[in-house]
Symmetry: C2
Subunit: 141 residues, 2 copies
DNA sequence: CGGGTTGTAATAGGAATGGTTACGATGGCA
DNA sequence: TGCCATCGTAACCATTCCTATTACAACCCG
């Protein structure tokens, strides 16, 4: 399990927030979301913090506190979620600089960066076709 | 630096093998490849082992040992490389099972799997458009 | 002001990775 | 046949990242 499950957790939280909204529940606490995702509330507060910074959710503090979607679930795509929580690129370059004396070592990094950027862009485009609303509809089916 | 640099190392090795071939050098040892990638020969033997299992390179043992491409560099794509060395999916599902009592926790995994599969497929398609020969040409330009 | 919740720091455990050493297996060549 | 360079792989370590957990200050509604 090397790769992040952060996108999964964030998508799960957003879907749950949208379901709560449809049920007439204004907001959910990190405890309530954590119970569905089956993890610690702090993990959720961190993930939801990323989503808040990206403008996807709003948080209220105080006694009647909790999280809710900042805009319609039809207008939140998986690309938005990915951008909000994924820090690392999908594929990494060399850990230690390649040997610049060798023609391949010297010139490979910009070429690989191009290739990885193209592929990641295609990945993002595919994600942008799915919204939280779509996904919740499928989940409930 | 969470994500793998294995694809990078493997692509680098293949480009270097192809350059050696163009220069008339039949094969390279793991030491020679490691010198260009700037890492340990054992790392290269591990990566090249993956590539060998995928049929992209051949290895000879004994005194005159070394690695060489198993087929023309024009027919090895970055998708082949990715498939050969990437063990983990690009995005992971939940680390611990979500709560099946909750409708979202119960139904979200197949939906997410679909979305991730679609996006990964788009990623792979983009990679399949670049061959080792293409990349080496760009590197040497 | 009281109580419940967010926001975040500190820390720990576990997993994966790259790196390193070591050594048996292989096979060309003297 | 025996040497020796090199592959193939196991074992181990250090580092890094992720999730989980505890703790607590900041916040704000009633």
């Amino acid at each position: 399990m090397a790769s992040n499950s952060r996108v999964t957790i964030a998508a799960h939280a957003l879907a749950w927030l949208e379901l709560a909204r449809r049920r007439g529940q204004g907001s959910l606490t990190s405890d309530e979301v954590a119970a569905s995702v089956n993890t610690n509330p702090v993990i959720l507060r961190r993930s939801l913090g990323d989503l808040k910074r990206a403008g996807l959710v709003t948080a209220r503090r105080g006694t009647r506190a909790g999280f809710s979607l900042a805009r319609p679930a039809e207008e939140i795509t998986m690309y938005d979620v990915w951008m909000a929580v994924a820090a690392e690129p999908l594929l990494a370059l060399h850990r230690s600089e390649p040997n610049k004396e060798c023609p391949v070592g010297n010139g490979i990094q910009p070429v690989l960066t191009d290739v990885y950027d193209e592929a990641s862009s295609a990945f993002g485009t595919a994600l942008s076709r799915r919204t939280i609303a779509d996904m919740l509809d499928r989940i409930l089916k």
